[in-house]
């Protein structure tokens, strides 16, 4: 136990140190580059850095810096870009040179602009409309981005972790190794989330989803707290995919009672039934929508606040600023550690609740 705690604290320290070092790097290089009013530039710089961190990217960059000659250097690995634009095109993201150059693939030209791929001409011209939105065509993009890489990593990790655990049950009924830590969590999800919400009879068919979603969200949230700069669950696309699965599972496993309570609520006057039907129907969409927004917003907010506090270090520029923001960041990182588990729990819990509503039997009515 003590060793694990120590490892946790050490990794947290490492996290805060690395993020701050990264930020400092960028901030200082930028400050070096430009001699215009520093205070304001630094703030926008931090803001941009945070906004950039929250976005997905086409390569896996650990850190970047600018040389004295003004050249941008990246410590990064390119990832495959897969786009569909009149045929499937696969190429390395190194062709974009982090958005600095135009990539030429099979006679077509593509350019990264604000982390999106746009089709351009050979010079990389991007035309804008009045609201400063690019009007260039966007090819269908199925690239293996940084987030996709981490989704794959977590999926593989989970697969090996849990199949290994399953194997350890063969021959003896007691868990071994990691199973000792994971089994109580699995049992907790079964006994305190699935069974009370869904019911003893029907919980079994949802267990696979509930367990997977809990561990997936938890692990990927935790990875978001490492210095790797991962931020999977603060992409609305990811939380939408998860919420959609919950929605479809609820909808397609729902029994007659569920639909009856939506479209023709029993035990209320006919007029109320007519009024309630659209509200209830809307409710079925709002529930997973809330799931999606909750997970997305919580993780995003955590990242923004954590990085802002680290950014304060460069704004204060006094001997008291750095230790203060370091302490705050450390405390917040601890809080985020809790939030990582809490959001996974809430997502699982609410999914189970919706499944429970879908299969509930109303014998008492």
């Amino acid at each position: 136990m003590h060793r694990i705690n120590l490892v946790k604290i050490l990794s947290l320290l490492l996290l805060t140190v690395t993020i701050s070092v990264n930020a400092q790097h960028d901030a200082s290089t930028k400050a070096h580059e430009e001699t215009t009013p520093q205070e304001k530039d630094l703030k926008t710089e931090i803001k941009e850095y945070i906004a950039h961190h929250l976005l997905d990217s086409y390569d896996f960059t650990l850190f970047s810096w600018t040389t004295d000659a003004g050249e941008h250097k990246y410590f990064s690995a390119p990832l495959p870009v897969i786009i569909y634009d009149g045929g499937l095109k696969i190429f390395s993201s190194s062709k974009f040179h982090h958005g600095e150059t135009v990539a030429e693939v099979d006679g077509n030209y593509y350019k990264l602009y604000h982390n999106k791929i746009y089709k351009t001409d050979a010079e990389g011209t991007i035309s804008y409309d009045e609201e400063h939105h690019p009007t260039n065509a966007k090819p269908l993009d199925f690239s293996i981005t940084k987030n996709v890489v981490f989704i794959i990593i977590v999926a593989v990790l989970m697969f090996f972790m849990f199949t290994r655990m399953a194997k350890s049950y063969k021959g003896n009924l007691m868990p071994k190794g990691m199973g000792r830590m994971l089994e109580p969590i699995i049992l907790y999800i079964r006994d305190d989330i699935a069974i009370p919400n869904i019911g003893e009879k029907k919980y079994k068919k949802y267990m696979g989803y509930l367990l997977t979603v809990f561990f997936f969200v938890w692990i990927i949230n935790l990875l978001g707290l490492t210095p790797l700069g991962v931020n999977v669950t603060n992409n609305i696309a990811v939380t939408l995919a998860l919420a959609l699965i919950t929605y479809f599972l609820t909808t397609f496993t729902a029994n007659k009672n569920y639909w009856k309570h939506i479209f023709w609520m029993p035990d209320v006057p006919v007029l109320m039934k007519i009024i309630l039907a659209p509200i209830e129907l809307l409710g079925t969409f709002i529930k997973p929508f809330a799931l999606m927004i909750r997970l997305y917003a919580n993780i995003t907010a955590g990242h923004i606040v954590l990085m802002s506090i680290i950014g304060l270090m460069f704004v204060f520029k006094s001997w008291i600023g750095s230790p203060l923001s370091f302490g705050l960041a450390f405390a917040l990182a601890l809080l985020e550690l809790l939030v990582a588990a809490l959001q996974a729990y809430i997502f699982t819990m609410l999914s189970a609740l919706y499944f429970g509503m879908a299969v509930e039997e109303h014998d008492d009515h």
Partner: protein, 166 residues
């Protein structure tokens, strides 16, 4: 909201959906099912073992009660047996005593009868002998007496006197 929609990445959505569903299906088959089955089996095993222990305890109690009962019965039986035996013994002894007394009485009676008979016989014999001796003595005395005339007369007189008196 606009920013959210702008940020939305179809590719990420696509991969997340595909990978996550694949992960759920794979884990369901290779991890969750075996794990939950094993856990269920273990829980069932524990429950069975507890039930069995409870049953064994109850059975033990029953057995103990039975044993107690049997012991009690055996004890009662032994007591009655002992009692019977004692009674029989006493019966036999008293019977034997009675018989012995009767027998003894008989023997004593017979002995007394024999003694009486012997006594009578002895008395008769003695009487006869005494009579013979008396006669002999009387003969001798008479003979002596009758040798002298005086004495004869005197005797006759005396005898006569006696006769007249009586």
């Amino acid at each position: 909201m606009e920013k959210l929609i702008e940020q939305f990445s179809l590719g990420l959505f696509f991969w997340q959906l595909i990978l996550f569903i694949a992960l759920v299906l794979l884990l369901q088959k290779f991890a969750w099912k075996p794990i939950l089955n094993s856990v269920n089996e273990r829980e069932k095993g524990i429950k069975n073992a507890l039930d069995e222990a409870e049953n064994a305890r109850k059975e033990m109690q029953n057995l103990n009660a039975d044993n107690e009962r049997i012991l009690k019965e055996a004890r009662a039986q032994r007591d009655t047996l002992l009692k019977e035996a004692r009674e029989m013994k006493e019966g036999i002894i008293s019977e034997a005593k009675n018989e012995a007394q009767v027998q003894a009485a008989k023997i004593v009676e017979q002995a007394q009868a024999t003694i009486e008979a012997e006594k009578q016989a002895a008395i008769t014999d003695l009487k006869n002998q005494v009579a013979e001796l008396s006669v002999g003595i009387a003969e001798k005395v008479v003979r002596g007496e009758l040798a002298d005339k005086n004495k004869q007369t005197k005797l006759v007189e005396e005898l006569l006197k006696e006769v007249t008196i009586s």
